[in-house]
Amino acid sequence: MADKKSIDSRAAFEQALKTSQNQFYTLRLYVIGTSPQSVSAINNIKNICEEHLQGRYELEVIDLYQQPQLAQGQQIIASPTLIKKLPLPLRRVIGDMSNAERVLVGLDLRPRPK
């Protein structure tokens, strides 16, 4: 009885973890300088995060001009590119983040369209 109960609890916890409401997001935005696209991308992602992930996200903005080494491991990066490092799976969203719906899908905050 006892074993069964503990298994039930773990399952419930894991289920809870999966719910997007509780997950912590680690995001990285690659930009180059102060191009209008970069400016717009930073503005947009900030707004989206504040709206949907308030208090549970970390956003790194990387200027590839100044810190190209931080792009290592990537062969080609378009600027701006947002990478969702956590929670897995890794996802990337390219562009100035002006289409909020697409960004939300990219962040797995909206179901992907079939």
């Binding site: 102060t34 696209q37 790194e60 903005v61």
Partner: protein, 853 residues
């Protein structure tokens, strides 16, 4: 090797993801959302800018030393360069995308808010504090710009300059500002010239002091200020110092634009370049004209008396030294006069210091005016002055000046409603006197001579006689001696009995102070009391007298003697506010003495000085049982009204009247007058100065029974008094002497009148007076009396019968002698003077035997 189906599925998904990504990238590029592509490779990254990115501009921004960032209106950091991240001590990636407000100190946030809220049409700049990741404050200046580039709407570019790095610059800038401010606002005048002495700058104070404006002096040399008071040597020395030491400091007289000469304290410094070559001269100066004036005032204060503006002791000493040298050079003696005011202290005490000061000022100018132009007159103490009289010729010649001084002081001074009257005592000494005498010795000699003038009765001068070794110390030394004598109990009381000549009873004794001086022997009060007349010691000594008398009375009481004792009270003591209280205390300390037995003698002159106050004190003493006598009565000028109001019991007739009454009818008249006054005011009378039995007899006949004098007893030590009292008996001559009735007074006058008359005749004959006293035998009072009594009660006495012819002969002979004189037979007249005297003696002899009952 074949891949499993599972592997293929994974590979497919990966490829699909890549495709999706690529499609997504292409879509973003197509829609203009992507600005660049970065392609990574082993040798480095390649950046392909797609739109809008200006690479050369970027490189500039990335590498610049100021922090640069762009933010949106909410403060979101869209872009920041590495330098800005360094300022915050944060990795750059943690900075971009965060809020700028996270890094701004709380009190700076409003500044930033204001910067970010600016309209997009200008630049704005402000200073604020960032807070680094390590918590340190970083002062920065933000320059904000609001680019109007398409696609950057709402973006604000900020340029952050680290102020701590420019602090050094700012400090320098502040110092420069400060220096400029000091230059402009300094109260010292500043003048800068180039190496050739041409003025290149001056400050406001320069203009204020010299009255030259900046424009008027630029390009000119400081010579425009020259007053011409300094000679060439002065400037040569100045330039020498400036060249050798690089600076010069000193006082210099310059001239203002309006021509006025002023004194300045000037410091000139040479400024050199790195090679040591003079580039500028800087002159810093202050106007010390006021200081010089002040200096002069101080000098005046140091040498002049503030109250009277006369030279003080310091300046006088200086003038004396000069005077003494001059005296030797010119072989002309000089005189030093020491002057002390008599009775000044009383003025101060009675009317206050303000009045005393005004009196001093008034007298000072008078005394100064009494001297000659070249003489020095100085004030060296409260009421002490000294004069230096140059080129006096002789002491006799300067007597005129001394008398002028005395007269200047003795004239009354009117101050408001008061008329004050003081005198001066002068001591004079002459220089040179033998060798080696110093200025201070001269002053001491003059001081000593002044003291002798005081003792001799004041309002006079006394000339110091260097040939007499009088060994008298100065006034102050004597004061000290008196003070010491009190402590050492060198004072003592002598007692002079007072008797009733009619009854033969001893009625009391007067206590008289003596000083048993260790060197000079027994001193009479006249030798020391004048010294302290104006001094508080006087009161102290007065109290000692009362206390000693009371103590003596207790001793006598213990021996079975009860004797009223009178003590002399000085005016000063009487005026003490606490006199009555002090007396009460002294009486309480001697309970065995009946206060009725203590009497006070006060001088007529002093009691009347402040009548109301004296009356009050005398009245209060009377309530204690102590009665007063008015001493030396007849010598003052008291009005009868005053006498009536003064509640004294006794009048003591001054001894001068008594002493001479037998020979001088004037004194006898005064005496009879005083006696009738006393009778009228119901005061008792005591005569002083009874030296012979005849004095006593005359007084008894005049109706004055109480007396004292050498003829009765000299003052004696207390111990001798009881013995004297046992042995004394009144003169037999005084027995049964009636008081003559008023009508018979001429009889009493006869003696004095005729003696005096004969004396005048003799001096007339000797040519010593112009005319004798006119007296014919019926005109004289005695003759008139004889005429009237011939039918009256004395007519039957044999003495009268004998006197009448003698009187007639006396007058006839006198008339003869005067006639001889008129006939130029003076020798014959003088030969008969002896005869005249014999007749007088015979008549006086008969007078004695006249029975006045």
């Amino acid at each position: 090797m074949t891949r499993s189906g599972r592997e293929l599925i994974v590979e497919n998904e990966d490829l699909r993801a890549r495709l999706e990504e690529t499609e997504e990238t292409l879509r973003a590029i197509r829609s203009g959302e992507v600005d660049s592509l970065v392609i990574m490779s082993e040798v480095g990254e390649q950046i392909f800018a797609l739109t809008g990115a200006d690479q050369s501009y970027r490189i500039l921004v990335e590498d610049m030393s100021e922090g640069a960032l762009t933010v949106n209106a909410e403060g979101l950091i869209i872009y920041a360069n590495r330098r800005f991240a360094e300022m915050l001590k944060m990795p750059l990636e943690k900075v971009i995308g965060g809020s700028i407000y996270l890094w701004v100190a709380p009190d700076s946030q409003p500044i930033l808010r204001s910067l970010l809220g600016q309209s997009a049409d200008g630049k704005c700049r402000d200073e604020l504090d960032l807070v680094s990741n390590e918590g340190a404050k970083v002062p920065i200046q933000f320059s904000a710009s609001y680019p109007l580039v398409k696609g950057m709407e709402g973006v604000i570019c900020l340029l952050a300059t680290d102020l701590s790095e420019i602090n050094e610059f700012k400090r320098n800038e502040r110092e420069l500002k400060l220096a400029a401010s000091v230059f402009t606002h300094a109260s010292e005048g500043i003048l800068i010239t180039d190496a050739h002495g041409h003025i290149i700058n001056v400050n406001d104070a320069f203009t204020r002091i010299t009255s030259y404006s900046r424009d008027e002096v630029l390009g000119r040399t400081p010579n425009i200020l020259s007053s011409g008071r300094q000679d060439k040597g002065f400037f040569a020395a100045l330039w020498h110092d400036l060249t050798e030491k690089g600076h010069w400091y000193g006082e210099i007289w310059n001239r203002r634009k309006n021509g006025e000469v002023y004194a300045e304290m000037l410091r000139i410094s040479a400024l050199c370049d790195s090679d040591g070559k003079v580039t500028e001269y800087v002159g810093l100066f202050s106007d010390i004209t006021a200081m010089k004036e002040h200096e002069k005032q101080l000098e005046h204060i140091a040498h002049y008396d503030a109250l009277t503006n006369l030279p003080n002791r310091v300046l006088f000493a200086d003038r004396m030294q000069q005077g003494m040298l001059q005296s030797l050079r010119r072989a002309q003696p000089l005189a030093v006069v020491f002057l002390d005011l008599d009775g000044f202290k009383a003025v101060n005490d009675t009317h206050g210091h303000a009045v005393g000061d005004r009196l001093l000022i008034n007298l000072s100018s008078r005394m100064k005016a009494a001297l000659r132009e070249g003489d020095t007159f100085a004030r060296i103490g409260g009421d002490e002055f000294v004069a230096l009289l140059l080129d006096i010729g002789s002491i006799a010649a300067c007597q005129l000046t001394l008398n002028r001084l005395l007269a200047a002081v003795a004239q009354p001074v009117q101050i408001d409603d008061l008329v004050l009257h003081v005198t001066a005592s002068l001591g004079v000494t002459v220089y040179p006197q033998g060798d080696g005498i110093e200025a201070d010795q001269l002053l001491r000699q003059a001081d000593q001579a002044m003291y002798l003038a005081k003792i001799a009765g004041k309002n006079r001068f006394h000339v110091f006689d260097p040939t007499l070794d009088i060994n008298l110390r100065s006034y102050h030394a004597n004061l000290e001696q008196i003070r010491r004598a009190l402590v050492q109990r060198e004072f003592l009381l002598y007692y002079q009995p007072k008797v009733n000549m009619r009854t033969g009873k001893i009625v009391g004794a007067e206590a008289l102070i003596r000083w048993q001086h260790p060197e000079k022997g027994l001193l009479l009060p006249a030798e020391f009391l004048p010294l302290i007349e104006d001094h508080p010691l006087n009161v102290e000594l007065g109290e000692w007298v009362i206390d000693s008398a009371l103590t003596q009375m207790e001793i006598w009481a213990a021996q079975g003697w009860t004797l009223p004792v009178s003590v002399n009270i000085s005016a000063r003591q009487l005026k003490q506010a606490n006199f009555v209280d002090r007396l009460r205390i002294l009486l309480a300390a001697h309970t065995k003495v009946n206060p009725n037995d203590l009497e006070m003698e006060v001088l007529e002159t002093s009691a009347l000085d402040d009548l109301i106050r004296a009356s009050d004190v005398i009245e209060k003493c009377r309530a204690l049982g102590v009665l007063f006598a008015l001493d030396d009565f007849g010598t003052g000028y008291s009005s009868l009204t005053y006498l009536k109001r003064l509640p004294v019991r006794w009048l003591k007739i001054d001894q001068s009247f008594v002493r001479d009454m037998l020979d001088d009818p004037d004194y006898l008249s005064i005496l009879t007058g005083v006696l009738s006054l006393a009778l009228a005011f119901r005061r008792e009378v005591i005569a002083e100065g009874v030296e012979t039995a005849a004095h006593g007899a005359m007084l008894l006949q005049l109706g004055c029974d109480l007396a004292q004098g050498f003829g009765i007893a000299r003052p004696m030590p207390a111990g001798e008094l009881p013995n004297w009292m046992v042995n004394w008996h009144k003169e037999p001559e005084w027995n049964n002497l009636p008081t003559v009735v008023h009508a018979d007074l001429p009889l009493l006058f006869a003696r004095a009148e005729h003696k005096a008359w004969v004396v005048t005749i003799e001096s007339f004959l000797r040519g010593e007076r112009a005319a004798p006293m006119q007296l014919d035998h019926h005109g004289c009072r005695f003759g008139a009396w004889l005429d009237s009594v011939s039918t009256a009660r004395h007519a039957m006495q044999p003495a009268i019968k004998a006197i009448e012819p003698l009187h007639l002969q006396l007058h006839e002979l006198a008339a003869d002698l005067c006639a001889l004189h008129d006939q130029n037979r003076n020798e014959d007249a003088l030969a008969k003077v002896g005869e005249l005297k014999e007749l007088l003696a015979a008549m006086l002899n008969q007078l004695k035997s006249l029975d006045m009952h």
